[in-house]
Amino acid sequence: MRTTNTQAARRPNRGTALQWIVGVILTVGGILVVLPFVWMIFSAFKTEAEVMQIPPTLFPETFTMDNLRNLFENMNFMVYLRNTLIVVLFSFVGLFLNAMAGFGFAKYRFKGQNKLFLLVLATMMIPGQVTMIPVYLILNYSHLTNTMIGIVLPGLVGAFGIFLFRQFMSTIPDELLEATRLDGASEWRTFLQIILPISKSILAVQGILTFIAGWNSFLWPLIVANDEKLYTLSVGLSLLKGQYAGNYALQMAGSAFMVIPIIIIFVFFQRHIIENYSISGMK
């Protein structure tokens, strides 16, 4: 500590100059990073004519909600929103199943445990392109194409989530489980009433990430849904991009509607999300 203090004292000007340079570089980079978002939000509230205007305006000259209204009144964004929320809801079921499996692997000793866990981890290495076609054929064989179940099933559970839950639940002391068992609680009740409340922090982080992933889900809805009634927001938006290729105001409104809720959630919970990755990245 003393050495750093004397070092800092010896070169005070260089230190502050460096801080300023670093700050300026990061600010310029940061402006470039948020620029597309800013442009999207402002353009979403411009009229179609103003978006086509040269030179472009930054702030909307005539502020209009027509684009957003258009999405819901003339396009099926209400249906897409409902489907997206259904997908999100199902993905929370997946989260619960992941937590169950994480608990099973963390707190029991059983035959084939290590082999089964390795099998779970191995599924992380299989690229999506290889499973994409056979999964579609399996869904088709089970008559699940063009159904909501078919959209949510393929991505319902994931090895990464199971892994994180197992890591966390391994740290719960066995004595706690023994005590509840002695009180006569079943294994299922132990899981629901002891394990889940203790795992609140990891459940929260995984819950946020699950929400974001469900909200953004694109590939399976795209492959499985033939019917516009089953489209999610991302699939609907890519359809809109094709149908209204020239109407950028409408496209920006659709994008903003998808992106802004996620940005709000992210900024609100960013500390937890970033720490979750820091922890899993270190292990």
Binding site: Q19, G30, W39, A101, V130, P134, V259, I274
Partner: protein, 295 residues
């Protein structure tokens, strides 16, 4: 008393996920392998008896398919330019943020991370507007600087670079966080000792920071490379592979053959070629990493 009760309980907890992973991850590999040796298409989908085994023909056809060749070259272009770019930029941002002493620098973590949580379709739509040659923001800003407009998505080479810029923008965040976590794991005493010996900032960075980050760089380069080998959404939404298949990636080629042309067997064969490439690249990286640590 508990003994036999416990013996069933763990299977009860892991069964639902294991069943789902088996159906949607493990069995599909076997299915994909089998159909890659067949002529399965829409007719085969309706009537399984119409499917014929055709041996290695899909594999022979796919490697001699000129569009597949183009897709491989494009994917190599993405990997060779994209991977070092993502690693260099996210490492630079992480180092700069780590240098900052004020708490304000935590804000930068949020700002640079933001693009990675947002929806890929939405941002591709936004960037499509920014890249528009006549009314897009980028060409307008270049015009202000008296630079001629860039054909962002219409020139075969430039279109690839434009997609890389978008993917770079989305890719910085996660890798930056991994680098920051690794940077904070380096003991402060190393720097203090180096400062006592009179090492300047540059020497500290090249002699302590970068060697200590070796594992993080290795991890990020493997995951980034696998990600770029599977590059799909950006070309699918922004260019749909065009102009003239100059942005078609291997993944997009597989998707198009599988789901737009319904050549399931052919697409499955293509996906195994990609799988083999991913495994080969990962193994080579592990080899190189081992050599590094031997030295």
């Amino acid at each position: 008393m508990r003994g036999y009760g416990n013996s069933k309980a763990p299977y009860f907890f892991i069964a639902p996920t294991l069943i789902l992973l088996t159906i949607f991850s493990l069995i599909p590999i076997a299915v994909a392998l089998v159909i890659s040796f067949t002529d399965m298409d829409l007719t085969g989908l309706a009537d399984y008896s119409a499917i014929k085994f055709i041996g290695l023909r899909n594999y022979i056809d796919v490697v001699s398919d000129p569009i597949f060749g183009k897709a491989i070259l494009n994917t190599l272009f993405y990997v060779i330019i994209g991977v070092p770019l993502v690693i260099a930029v996210s490492l630079a941002v992480a180092l700069l943020i780590n240098l900052g002493k004020s708490r304000l620098y935590k804000v930068f973590r949020v700002v640079y991370y933001m693009p990675s949580v947002t929806n890929v379709v939405a941002v591709a739509v936004v960037w499509g507007y920014l890249y528009n040659p006549s009314i897009g923001l980028f060409n307008y800003l270049l015009g202000k600087l008296h630079i001629a407009g860039v054909p962002w998505l219409t020139d075969p080479v430039m279109a690839k670079i434009s997609l890389i810029i978008l993917a770079l923008w989305r890719g910085i965040g996660l890798n930056m966080i991994i680098f920051i976590a690794a940077l904070q794991g380096i003991p402060k005493s190393y720097y203090e000792a180096a400062q006592l010996d009179g090492a300047n900032l540059w020497q500290q960075m090249t002699r302590i920071t970068l060697p200590m980050l070796r594992y993080a760089i290795f991890f990020v380069s493997i995951t980034t490379m696998i990600g770029w080998l599977q590059f799909f959404e950006e070309p699918f939404i922004m260019t749909n592979g065009g102009p003239l298949d100059s942005t078609t990636s291997v993944s997009l080629f597989i998707y198009r053959n599988g789901f737009q042309l319904s050549h399931f067997g052919y697409a499955a064969a293509g996906s195994f070629v990609l799988f083999a490439a991913i495994i080969a690249v990962t193994l080579i990286q592990f080899r190189m990493q081992n050599k590094d640590t031997d030295l």
